[in-house]
Point group: none
Chain length 475, copies 2
């Protein structure tokens, strides 16, 4: 309770009082202050009466705003103690004497088998529930009747425009609304493209060939490789080194799947000469580059490298989604496709599911257009950068001899280990500590070539940091 904020401090946190939308001012300002770490975990807010007086608003305006943040999981309401900032948003700093449990959501689920959260998924506590629900409401209210029939399978025009604009600005892409196809995430985008490569696009080159082939990074995401195989494609692994994919070793395939901005899992960036080599390979053979824009918007040390797509929009297909920035529970993503692929892709999307939910598309369009998406991105980037830094600092202090690969980006780190036994042990310890982790050897084409753990960093704090250190040290 020593940590209670003086009412006047609220004004400093929130900034100048606007003329209207006072509830939004309080809610958004406090959320930003919490996510930015300007007000720390365990801090107790002034009483709603004192806050209302200090801010010059009605008491109900304060309580309504705080309720929304409680719903967001950013604040916790404690009977007789007041409303305090949730510990789940800590920055690695040990919490105060009133050790705070994770915020309890309004409705507890019925017990169910826990699926391990996968490496690379964001912290659900950062999902902006209120902002999302508000966007759905306002977008749904504003939709013309004509948009409430079967959707445009290519995607709502307003969203395609907003995505194109976002990709131009944030990723330097060459994007127009008519080249964007809205999909239910990168996985669906890949499945649809794989279907095209295995079917219609394969026709001219198939002849006597048994199946079209796609080159993939080695190591790479086992899930993505599975999708390609399930579509009937052959898969050719190509090694990755510290400059990314060995473009000089690319085989004669129909396409290559790459993660140039932040290679999964090694975390390296595709070097400029490799980018050029890759594009020459594609242009020479009428091949496609499937650019999974993995982690591109979570670069912490500099602006992310621009999308490859900008260098050859006729050969590069750019795939992205909101899974990291908002939540993988939303199932919304996009494919920015070369003009000749847009028609076949839309046809494939139509056959797959007739299109994506219109209210959700409209809501995402609103968030992108209003700038709320960009602001959210900057906030979560701050949080994730700090969590990654705390983990790396602990590893550097406790296991300085272990190599951590990759640039300062994303939601995972790779710690290399000497043997399969060390890898097994690390994966086991991390599973016990409920830290998302993946054996590095499971991502490679050749068993036994590389050992280590891929550790999800999005939720790694405090005790989880200690668990990671313990896991890779092998006691």
């Amino acid at each position: 309770m020593t940590d209670r904020l003086p009412p006047e401090a609220l004004l400093l946190l929130l900034g100048p009082r606007p003329d209207g939308a006072l509830g939004r001012w309080i809610e958004d300002g406090l959320r930003a202050a919490i996510i930015d770490g300007r007000v720390g975990p365990g801090a107790v807010l002034p009483s709603s009466r004192d806050a209302a007086t200090a801010l010059g608003v009605a008491r109900g305006t304060v309580t309504a705003a705080l309720d929304l943040l409680v719903g967001d999981g950013l604040l916790v309401s404690r009977p007789r103690a007041g409303v305090e900032v949730a510990a789940v948003l800590g920055t690695g700093v040990p919490t105060g004497p009133g050790a705070t449990p994770a915020p309890t959501p309004a409705a507890m689920p019925t017990p169910r088998p826990a699926r391990p959260p996968s490496v690379g998924t964001p912290d659900p506590a950062l999902f902006p529930r209120t902002a999302w629900a508000r966007a759905v409401r306002s977008a749904t209210a504003g939709l013309p009747d004509a948009d409430l029939g079967y959707p445009d399978p290519q995607g709502l025009l307003a969203l395609r425009e907003a995505v194109a604009n976002h990709l131009r600005q944030a990723r330097g892409a060459r994007a127009e609304a008519h080249d964007v196809v809205v999909v239910s995430g990168v996985a669906q985008g890949l499945t649809l493209l794989a279907g095209l490569l295995a079917g219609p696009l394969a026709a001219p080159r198939s002849g006597t060939m048994p199946a079209a082939r796609v080159a993939v990074e080695d190591p790479s995401s086992p899930g993505a490789v599975d999708l390609l195989l399930a579509a009937g494609l052959g898969v050719d692994p190509v090694p990755v080194d510290d400059d990314g994919l060995r473009a000089d070793l690319l085989p004669d395939a129909s396409a290559v799947l790459v993660t140039p901005a932040h290679q999964f899992p090694l975390g390296v960036v595709l070097a400029p000469d490799r980018r050029r080599e890759l594009l020459s390979w594609a242009a020479a053979g009428g091949r496609y580059v499937l650019e999974d824009d993995y982690d591109a918007e979570l670069r912490y040390d500099r602006r992310p490298v621009a999308a490859l797509q900008a260098m050859d929009p006729d050969r590069v297909v750019l795939l992205g989604s909101v899974s990291k920035m908002l939540s993988p529970a939303l199932r919304l993503g996009w494919v920015l496709a070369p003009p000749q692929l847009v028609g076949p892709l839309v046809e494939a999307k139509t056959r797959a599911d007739l299109g994506c939910s219109v209210p959700e598309q409209a809501a995402l369009a609103d968030l992108l257009r209003s700038g709320a998406y960009g602001r959210h991105l900057r906030r979560v980037r701050t949080v994730y950068r700090r969590r990654r830094a705390v983990l790396l600092e602990a590893l550097g202090a406790h296991v300085p001899d272990l190599r951590v690969r990759g640039v300062d980006a994303g939601l995972h780190v790779v710690v290399e280990l000497a043997s399969r036994a060390a890898e097994d042990e690390a994966v086991r310890v991390l599973a016990g500590a409920r830290v998302p982790a993946l054996a590095l050897s499971a991502t490679g084409a050749v068993p036994g070539e590389r050992f280590g753990v891929v550790v999800g960093t999005a939720r790694v704090r405090d005790d989880a940091v200690a668990a990671v250190v313990r896991a890779v040290r092998g006691q």
Copy 2:
């Protein structure tokens, strides 16, 4: 009038008066009594004033409950005579003197773009925008953090439970949450099932066969046929007469796709003996019945026939969605699958898109659980019934010699015409009047066998009614 119930009899029919939810008590109790036959067709209810006194409730509570039952088609309101139990609650299916076409072994026409017939789409003006946005908001706020990662690809447990409950109650299905797979609509459900029939399920029987085959109704939805063809399946058309699919003509196929509750497009209901014959065919060959629950919840003259699924849950796959009741813009549906298909279906769904949006699934679960979905259903049913009746009345008055097929249900009517010229003209006039319409000949396997127009009735009012009359009269 001799049949008027004494007010006190209501108490006997409804059972003990609860402390709250008096409207529901009256509505549900009366519905049960009517369906169970404890109160027979033609019975006249006491006046709302007498009923209110006898039951000890406000008069408005009585009239609101009766209105909902009128909307259900269980009661009929007669000016100056009172409200009486509807006469048409038998199990007989309206039949007519229609000639039965010979079975046609011909292949279906070449694939068309897989857009669903807009003739069956609901009136977007009836989409409950506020209720939907509110459900998304409250569901999103209440989701535990654990549900904000990648979704359960089978579907959110809360939604699967709510859907199973709904299917048991509204469709008489044998449904449990573990047999439900949430999909992005019936089209996706069909695509996933078609993939299984063409792949894993085909293996044991394929041998030397070039492709697994699926029997379809002739005529049927061109979009659905296209999905099956796109999955690599062969398609065998089987004629439909006034009793529905000619089950005696079913070929040796892996499965059949049917619309038993309201055949698309002819609007007939699968007769009881045909249902049995169909199920024998399936059981005898280890085949599957894909039951598209088309229009099942939009029967206006009686309770809809129960789902086929209840008669053989090991062979029948029931597909449904919210497209008609809420909006096709939402992309939410379900597959109630035999136990042995659930695993393969979930795997296919995972490969397709990893699962459906969690906030939307949670919102639909809320609407189903709270009863809001059921109330909305009753409201729109009243509206759609009225619009259909107005159109049929106008057709009867102005073109009494034209035959309108099908039972009193759904969002479309079929008007048979004498020639392709008359059909072309009707489609042209309706397109000009912006009334959703489809040439009947486009739904059949054999060109030139049947002519007519399939007209969407969901939005047909006033000037649109005149346009339909003009279109089919051919001036």
